[in-house]
Symmetry: C2
Subunit: 164 residues, 2 copies
DNA sequence: AGAAATTGGTTACATTCGTAACTGTCTATT
DNA sequence: AATAGACAGTTACGAATGTAACCAATTTCT
């Protein structure tokens, strides 16, 4: 029972390293380009794809904590990239929708993301990329299973994946 | 040129999800158990494995920003898990070393980490785990290559992998 | 119908983090 | 030897987060 332990071979740490490597580059891109934070651009992405959602739905879709969503929505609203509209049936909820301006920026951002994916596949190589995706697919299966298990017990989806 | 885009298939996001899933569980473990933050436990791990390092070395070894290291060192010092000693030859640097108490806690933490690895491999399955590791190995190769490239240009290792 | 519990969303507060500025020490250049 | 630059480490400060408390609207229970 050796007490020796190499952090660099510890799975959570290795994953963290890879994630940050992959994420930071892209984060820098849209931060420099649009002064946008990650919650903001995730919100934009969610609304761009689904066109009309409530804040809670965005949180579930993008695995963000509700305060993050709230703040991101407010920021995007200030830029006039999205507008709120109220629901007559249930006046607690707000429907959120991109404005034309927001849609334009969404499209730009999608292009940016696609470009970045090309950069990544260049860095990783076609082979490395497919290996990584296979590994991720396996992990995602486990995550889904674990989520199912949790949901049964606690009706939870409380989560934030903390991608800030 | 479709404007459609699914965040959930975007590599940085997928990696982020997997990382948080894998990391949060362990983070909760040692936070609840020892009230320790991630930089603290990483510092502990680095010193446990190498027994005598400077703060800068810890930063390089564990990819943490120097302010993080500084704070973690101070916290561990307050717990009397490590002690500083000065270097006569160069009085800017401080040698850091675990105390006996620190070593004991290091060993516990290592056991905790090993146990968690078992949990993970149970969740992922032997097959999923090896796939993920293969993918990570590929990513790490790319990271190393990219770091080499950068180092040439800018003498950099400025990094923080931001695993907080 | 009315009290209690739930839900959508926002806000206050404490914590954590990174950037940049700063101190003290060493090295290189002159 | 003296000055400028580089480097180890700390600290002040602003930005970003998460927890928890909160408000208002709605549903559930009795």
């Amino acid at each position: 029972m050796r007490a020796d332990f190499d952090l660099n071979s510890f799975l959570p740490y290795r994953l963290n390293r890879a994630t940050e490597f992959v994420s930071l580059g892209f984060a820098a891109l849209y931060r420099d380009r649009y002064g946008m934070t990650r919650p903001e651009w995730r919100t934009l992405a969610a609304l761009g794809a689904n066109s009309r959602m409530t804040a809670t739905e965005i949180g579930i879709h993008s695995s963000m904590h509700k305060t993050k969503v709230s703040r991101a929505v407010r920021a995007l609203e200030k830029r006039r990239w999205l507008k709120r509209s109220e629901n007559e049936a249930d006046r607690r909820v707000e429907h959120l929708e991109l404005t034309d301006l927001g849609i334009r920026h969404y499209r730009e951002l999608v292009e940016l993301a696609r470009g970045y994916e090309k950069v990544l596949s260049g860095l990783l190589g076609e082979d490395g990329l497919s290996k990584l995706e296979a590994g991720l697919a396996a992990a995602e299966k486990a995550i889904a299973a674990s989520a199912r298990r949790t949901r049964g017990r606690k009706a939870a989806i409380r989560g934030d994946v903390s991608g800030n």
